[in-house]
């Protein structure tokens, strides 16, 4: 295998592996939303507060997935081809 092919192969596999971290954020967002919906169901008057805090919680959980995306993008676009 020549070096160019190995470079592309490694880059693609690496980016794919980096995005595995998005699983955690997905599960986290699911847990946050489930808790918020339960809270809203039990106490509909608090919907406004719960919704705001839910969005905040989702944003923090999502940040982890964003870091994965950044790593994947860096692997894809920022590593120069070896000469």
């Amino acid at each position: 295998m020549d070096i160019a092919a190995a470079y592309i192969l490694g880059k693609l596999i690496g980016a794919g592996l980096a995005m595995i971290g998005a699983i955690g954020a997905g599960a986290g967002i699911g847990i946050v939303a489930s808790g918020a919906v339960q809270a809203m169901g039990r106490n509909p008057d608090a919907t406004g507060t719960v919704q705001t805090n839910m969005i905040l919680g989702i944003a923090f959980a999502e940040a982890v997935a964003i870091y994965c995306l950044v790593v994947a993008l860096l692997i894809l676009f920022a590593i120069p081809m070896p000469a």
């Binding site: 705001t52 905040l56 870091y67 995306l69 993008l73």
Partner: protein, 323 residues
Amino acid sequence: MTEKPKQKVWGRWVVLAAILVGIYLFYVAKIPYIMPGVFLPAEKVFEIAGFPITNTLIALFFVDLIVLALAFGVKRAIASGKNILTGFSGAIEALVDMLYSMTEGTAGKWAKAIFPWFVTIMLLVLVANWMEMIPGIETVGLIEPAPAGEHGEFTTTQIGPFTGIMKPLSEEGELVKFVPYVRVVSTDLNFTLAIALVVVVMIQVYGIRSQGLAYFSKFWNTGTMFTKPIFGVIDFGVGLLEIVSEFSKVLSFAFRLFGNIFAGSVLLFVIGSLVPVFAQSIFYLLEFFVGAIQAFVFGLLATTFMAQATQGHGGEHHEEAHA
């Protein structure tokens, strides 16, 4: 009352006709459609006196124009002396009203100082994100010959009077590079990083304004070092971690917006190249939602962090309670 439903039915036929035209163009007339390449940095369209004008900068110019037009529109509606704002300015009033009560809930007496940051950031980011929905943005642009060693991925094709780009079907033909005139500004990391830096600096400014130099005890916490030996050291370590968390705020602010909108526009292109007719519309709806949520989250997080900075840190209150 019987007139109104008829207009809706008329709109439905337009959508159906557009779908049929799409099906005809792509499956019967076989006009080639493309999957554009993904470019991370913004591309230079032209330059003024050596200063490169990128396509995201042009988009930012339009965003500023739209936000200014909103502001002057609302100002004129208020100056007209009507008690109740109607139409678009009424909608803006309702939005601002809702956001202000939300800011009051988190920031308390600092709401008046923090509120302008919240709404400025939110409106700017919201308009920037929703620009993604406008047809022609990111698809109309310059076709440049690809310089050697850069990604030239397309060949040109003639569609009526227009020159289109497509993936090369055969080996022949010159490879070109495609540079859109306008590209959504949130897909440029410089834009999101700039707002993130402004926000994080302003968080420190509000912290110092509300607590004075005591604000820095959050980062360099030696107050309990000698009174409570073990927990004092832990408090000191926590303070150092707070410094790290300020820097990670910049990162997560910048990359959250950038990642979401960049991934969204790539998603739109991928869907458009897989199923060229109608399927993209569904994802436009998703992107509409994501754009609004991201703008809201950016503003809300800025508000929350600023409010936290004004409130001082919990340790001091505990001490007062014990003493």
